[in-house]
Amino acid sequence: MHPVRLFCWHFMAYPYLPSDFDARYDSGWVTVPNTLWDRERAGDLYQGYIDQLVYADELGFDGMVLNEHHQNIYGLMPSPNIIAAALTQRTKHGKIVVLGNLLPLHRNPLRVAEEYAMIDNMSGGRLIAGLAIGGGPEAFNYNVPQPQARDQFWEAVDLIKRAWTEPGPFEHDGKYYPLRYVNLWPQPRQRPHPPIWIPGALSLETMEETAKRGHDYFLSSRAHGPATQRAAQRFGEIIRRHGGEFHPFRMGLLISVYVSESDEQARAESREGVWYFIKNTLKGHLRNHGRMLTFGIGVPSMTVASYDSFLKNARPENKMLGDCDSWEELDQFGSIIVGSPATVRKRLWELIEQAQIGNFLVQFHFGNMEDRLARKSMRLFATEVAPALRRDSADLFARSFPALGDIAMAGAAQ
């Protein structure tokens, strides 16, 4: 049986912004002044956030998810590998999903291959290795020219995989990372290599390149609903075109959840954290108000053809997650689900049933949410939401993908 896998994602937001932050600052990214960092109060932040992830492991989540961001208030992990290393020592069961290291920001991707190999060994083979290209804010953070970034990224992905799988030393004669000696010590624990997840935001180019290489795709888009289902169908078609076999565990998606006893109580308890997350941490990233840096003319990573179709499909008045102003709008957006166990179960089941995606990466902590509330939501989810989703999804996937029982999922689903 292969039930949906439920992971706990922590962004590690900066929670101590002044209450008038939105009125005073254009962005929570790149230019947000670091004089807002409160040394006294922030000293224990990482410890508290790591403790929450350890709690997720104790609650039986399938894994803990971390990612890389720089110079921002949304996520305080410029190096998620450091948190991952800590988790190797404090967790026992779940996968450690680093989603991912931003390859074009690294001078030499071998460093990523090396650190991931260390984490894989230190965790007893629990690493899921996300490799990501980075978005607009990261382009500004490290001055990464965007037109070349994709090409550079895929060279780095291929180099890392070779370093994990081919006997060394060998020479890599790539355009961006020419190296005479590739000879990785240590080798990762998992064979042939840790699962490789590539995040993408619906672009067909990324799906194509991911499928071609046999890696798994993580949908980082915040637009859920029919778009999610379409993405899964497209990725499935592309995989089959490349002679591969699609099944739900070839894909993952990001969803945010707050669970409490009732819908009303869930809103009341999560109100402060959720709206802090939306209005402050998404400002500059997924919000039109202020200066959005995530994609556009100044960070032209899309090919001209992709930008052309983007202009045709995306209306300027389209809202992003950060533009939601009410609970009703949030509900419609479908990316943040707040409610009773029954409500959350129903909404997630709809997504599983429609999109048939097997990896759900769930954000529980929002912005400045109190520790006790995040833990409460995680606990209720683990005890009152997850069991039904696992049971029903195992049946559904077995019916929809009869071959699933026989498929070795490259370590990812073990």
Partner: protein, 284 residues
């Protein structure tokens, strides 16, 4: 008006107008190929006296994109090939903004073929304490469609009528959006790192160009600090500096007559110089 030339297997669009001695014009952001598919009044003023030859940079306008371009050096080599394809021996050279940078890089490599050099709001130099503004961040609209910071970067003021006509708020027709996108793809390839739009070694190489040069800048340039115009004028052996009042980086759009006159005066200085040296015919 426009033709396509083959450079290394890729089509390059070259617009031409006017007659007389050839003047190769390299465009900037608020310019033909950069944001307009047609000539602007400034180019027409030049065309009254010279033959204006204006190629679109690789990937800009209807020129094909070249995925191999990573640095200014790659662009310079592209232009060396294009100049061969154009079959013009000696020529006058002018460039605006990022086009001014490319023009300066070309002039120091081809001092014997470039008869005169006009730099208009040119980027390209590293001047300590006077960084070139972040046009890449400024072109990211505020509040979903407010381009006032972008206009302010390129013009004397965000509310200047020429600025509003070229870069209005909100979304423009796809054709114009794509023109601007293509321009930023090229600018990003060569000028996003180091930040921004310069080549640190250029300044010490400027002395190689000894022909007549005009360095023209708007006094209210928000993209390239005036210190850069002064540095260009100092580094080039035979340069005249012209600062234009009530204009920004797009000084050729804001004050077309004044800038065209300054460029043509520089062209004239070359004519006089070569007549004296008696090499006019040899180089034609």
């Amino acid at each position: 008006m426009s033709r396509a030339l083959d450079v290394g297997g890729r089509a390059v669009a070259v617009a031409e107008t006017g007659s007389g001695a050839p003047l190769v014009y390299l465009h900037g952001f608020a310019d033909i190929h950069g944001s307009s598919s047609d000539w602007l009044p400034f180019h027409r003023a030049l065309a009254a006296k010279v033959r204006v030859v204006a190629p679109a940079h690789p990937g800009c306008g209807v020129s094909e994109e070249n995925e191999e371009i990573d640095t200014i050096e790659d662009v310079v080599f592209h232009y060396l090939q294009l100049l061969d394809a154009l079959e013009i021996g000696a020529f006058h050279l002018a460039g605006a903004s990022i086009g001014g940078w490319i023009a300066a890089e070309l002039a120091i490599r081809l001092p014997e073929r470039v008869r005169s050099l006009a730099l208009i709001g040119a980027t390209g130099l590293f001047v300590p304490q006077h960084p070139i503004a972040d046009i890449f961040m400024m072109v990211q609209a505020k509040n979903g469609g407010d381009y006032s910071d972008f206009r302010h970067t390129l013009f004397r003021a965000a509310g200047a009528p020429e600025a509003l006509a070229m870069f209005p708020d909100g979304r423009m027709p796809a054709e114009r959006e794509l023109l601007r996108y293509r321009m930023f793809r090229l600018a990003s390839r060569i000028g996003f790192s180091p930040p921004y739009l310069h080549h640190r070694k250029l300044r010490d190489r400027l002395h190689r160009f000894t022909g007549p040069a005009a360095v023209i800048a708007g006094e209210r340039d928000s993209l390239v600090p005036i210190a850069h115009a002064r540095a260009y004028a100092q580094g080039l052996r035979n340069a005249q500096l012209k600062l234009v009042a009530e204009a920004g980086n797009s000084v050729a759009v804001e004050k077309p007559g004044e800038v065209a006159a300054a460029v043509l005066a520089c062209v004239g200085r070359a004519g006089a110089a070569s007549a004296v040296e008696g090499r006019d015919n040899a180089l034609q």
